[in-house]
């Protein structure tokens, strides 16, 4: 069991959680993710780790309520718990001094891109962070984004905040202005990542995308998360989650991500009609497991951390 030490809303349907997970906190690097299961009957969902505090033994994740599991998760508050968390999974982002690094992130993707942006800045890059959101209510972590970058742009679809337009609009402007771009990272919805790839691919700009394919175990065991890179099949969980955008077949990714859409819609509909019941059930189940957590936490607290 993993206790939520802090839960707070950071945007419309977007919530940040700080959760006790000492093993993950010690090992996490920018770009890695974890897999979470809320309760005994819950599904396993991958979530990118925003940051971690090895000394406090906590990890920070940011969740946008989209399906049933994320909606239920976002009902949880400080002091609640989740049943299972495993990680850190996947390869960390490749960090080096590329020169000028442009990061494009869509809404909740901002949280995922932040640690990599920070690391790239520390590595000496001139970091340009372009955050995109549907509207002002979905602009998140603006202060942190400004801190993690040397140049910051906020784009909203409706122009209700920052500049109006998609993130690729700003990217195109930079290119048109003759700015030299050495590295691009795009994190967000698949159409957005594909659009970025279409801009940077022809120009030969090294571009990485963080792929969100459907996963079960996250350790390479099931192969459900396989993505097509050129003619090669790769597993997003162990070979990724970041891949060279120029090789990614985004159509196949979108098609595979639609695999369970019907079931997802049904689940969400059921959940929205039974929200209070489901939340009460989850809390009751986890209250019975209170005792599970204590010994392990005590054992992992000691002087030896952090490993690294």
């Amino acid at each position: 069991m993993y206790r939520i030490v802090e839960a707070r809303n950071v945007g419309l349907n977007i919530k940040q959680f700080v959760i006790e997970a000492p093993r993950i906190a010690r090992k996490q690097r920018p770009g890695q993710f974890l897999i979470l299961r809320l309760h005994e009957k819950g599904e396993r969902i991958p979530l990118t780790i925003k940051s971690s505090d090895p000394e406090a033994g906590t990890v920070t994740i940011v969740v946008q309520a989209i399906g049933k599991t994320t909606s239920l998760l976002n009902c949880l508050e400080t002091g609640d718990s989740v049943l299972d968390i495993v990680g850190p999974l996947g390869h960390p982002s490749e960090i080096q001094n590329f020169g000028t690094a442009v990061i494009l992130a869509g809404s909740v993707g901002t949280a995922m891109a932040l640690p990599t942006a920070n690391a790239l800045k520390q590595a000496g890059n001139h970091v340009v962070f372009i955050e995109g959101a549907r509207n002002t209510e979905m602009v998140v972590f603006e202060d942190e984004v400004r801190q993690a970058s040397n140049e910051t742009y906020i784009m909203t679809d409706d122009g209700s905040y920052g500049e109006q337009g998609l993130v690729t609009r700003k990217l195109n402007e930079m290119i048109a202005a003759g700015r030299k771009i050495d590295f691009v990272l795009a994190v967000g919805p698949v159409p957005m990542m594909r659009a970025v790839s279409l801009v940077t691919g022809p120009l030969g700009i090294k571009t990485m995308v963080s792929l969100n394919s459907i996963m079960v175990d996250g350790t390479g065991m099931c192969g459900g998360c396989r993505v097509l890179l050129g003619k090669q099949s790769k597993f997003a969980c162990v070979d990724g989650p970041e891949f060279d955008a120029s090789l990614v077949n985004f159509e196949v990714l979108m098609q595979r991500n639609s695999m369970y859409r019907d079931k997802e819609c049904q689940s969400l509909k059921y959940f929205s009609e039974h929200k209070d019941e489901e939340l009460a059930q989850l809390r009751a189940e986890l209250a019975n497991k209170e005792d599970d957590v204590a010994p392990l936490q005590a054992e992992l607290a000691p002087e030896e951390a952090p490993h690294a």
Partner: protein, 486 residues
């Protein structure tokens, strides 16, 4: 050395040899195929006590029992059967546990026909003693009695062992090492304990409560378990030894990586690895659609094809059947005689209406414009001379391509090594195919204090072979911990 069992004379098998040999092998009661192919209840119902007793009396107590020799973990089967004849089922179970920490599991999933029962003298003239059924009987009897014959542990040695993976190899090593007085902690990557026993083998063949029961027994014996730890990611082997002070590590991670066919169309929606399909259904309970959240393709009134001829393929196709598939077809490139699956599973599958398409090999998956699978293009095969493994090699019949309609294809042609541990432990020697190199006698790897066994060393095999490796490794680890010699 096996200890001598002394029984009161009256309890011995008193029927004369000739009479014993006249008794026919008792039959394991099974759920009716027409009912069971629509649910996930256990197919084999277990022997009633009177049948178990009758079966046990068939044993002619050979001077040199072939069953013991053929058992990968060397269970003292003859002694166990003698105790069953005496009616002391609890003592029989306790005797069993001396060599096999998971009797309720092996009694259900071992390929006995190739092992203990394959070595039974009775099999030369008639049917061999139903050792697997007896094993299951005493394990279930013990569990239901609530009186576990758990062996006691030696005094603490002050040494500790980390076991990576809670599958059959890890669990059986844990059972042996805890008895030797070492501290034992098992790390599991998934949220549930049991490895392939819970994510791979379906409920109808091995109910999850059975696995949980055996894990709980180990817990009672003092074994510690930690789930949600991916060794190689959450913590490395070096960190376990250096910072968490484990004196030895046993790597028993299995061969968990799915093998795909590498043919066109493998990305269509509806194409699964057997690992994924079975994990969704078994570990995540996707068959309980309304209760559990993890989805699986709705197989109802759909055509499902499973590729492969082993136990995993058999499990997948029988699972698809139970999920309501209109047709559930097994496609295998050799003939039925070469199928590596257990005989019992093949029979059960046939009873459940699984269609077998032998000498057939997929060459391409076909899908619609939206990326959903609609069919599999296959070719017919014929068998050539035996290859290096002694099995006749399948070769394609030219111009024989045809299309089988399918909404779901499940690929169950084998698994390979997961590289997570190897890549995070540079001084661990591996084979070109990424299996861990370990001595076949001692299970020692190239790294001091680190042992490996089971599928991660041998490649995909059986539950009992992995358990055998676990036991051997445990003996070797014990020796290392007590002598300090490498």
């Amino acid at each position: 050395m096996p200890e001598k069992t002394t029984l009161p004379r009256s309890a011995m098998n008193i029927l004369p040899l000739k009479e014993r040999m006249k008794i026919l092998r008792t039959h394991m009661p099974e759920l009716d195929p027409s009912i069971r192919s629509h649910n996930f209840e256990e197919v084999n119902q277990g022997l009633p006590p009177e049948d178990a007793l009758t079966e046990a009396t068939r044993c002619i107590a050979c001077a040199k029992p072939g069953c013991v020799v053929q058992c990968p973990v060397g269970v003292k089967i003859k002694d166990v059967v003698e105790l069953i004849c005496a009616g002391d089922y609890l003592a029989a179970a306790a005797k069993m546990r001396e060599d096999n920490a998971l009797p309720a599991i092996t009694g259900r999933v071992c390929p006995q026909e190739n092992q203990c029962e394959g070595g039974c003298v009775l099999g030369k003239k008639g049917a061999p003693l139903a050792i697997g059924n007896l094993e299951r009987f005493i394990a279930d009897f013990e569990r239901n009695s609530g009186q576990l014959g758990l062996p006691s542990n030696a005094p603490s040695t002050g040494k500790s062992v980390a076991i990576v993976g809670s599958g059959p190899a890890g669990l059986s090593a844990a059972g042996d090492l805890i008895q030797k007085g070492h501290r034992v902690r098992v790390f599991e990557a998934l949220h549930e304990l049991g490895g392939v026993l819970v994510y791979g083998i379906p409920e109808f063949r091995l109910p999850k409560t059975i696995v949980k029961g055996e894990v709980d027994n180990l817990r009672r014996m003092g074994v510690e378990f930690e789930t949600n730890v991916v060794v190689g990611k959450s913590v490395t082997i070096d960190e376990l030894m250096q910072y968490e002070h484990f004196d030895a590590v046993f790597v028993a991670t299995g061969a968990g990586l799915p093998v795909f066919l590498g043919i066109p169309g493998e990305h269509f929606n509806g194409v699964y690895s057997a690992n994924e399909f079975l994990t969704r259904v078994n570990l995540m309970r996707a068959y309980q659609v309304t209760e559990y959240d993890e989805p699986v393709y709705d197989c109802r009134d759909r055509d499902v094809i499973v590729v492969g001829g082993g136990n995993t393929a058999m499990d997948a196709v029988r699972t698809a059947r139970r999920l309501g598939a209109r047709t559930a077809t097994l496609v295998y490139r050799r003939s039925e005689a070469e199928m590596p699956a257990r005989l019992e599973e093949v029979h059960h599958a046939q009873q459940e209406g699984i269609e077998f398409r032998m000498l057939t090999n997929p060459i391409e998956f076909i899908g619609d414009q939206k990326g959903w699978l609609t069919g599999v293009r296959c070719v017919r095969m014929e068998l050539d001379e035996p290859g290096p493994d002694g099995r006749r090699r399948p070769v394609e019949v030219k111009g024989s391509a045809f299309v089988l309609p399918a909404n779901v294809v499940i690929i169950g042609v084998g698994t390979t090594a997961n590289p997570l541990i190897q890549s995070s432990t540079p001084d661990l020697k591996t084979t070109p195919r990424n299996y861990i190199v370990a001595d076949s006698q001692t299970n020692r790897t190239s790294k001091r204090g680190v042992f490996a066994g089971g599928d991660i060393v041998t490649g995909g095999a059986t539950v009992i072979l992995a358990m055998g490796a676990g036991r051997k490794a445990a003996a070797s680890i014990h020796q290392f911990l007590t002598t300090g010699e490498w």
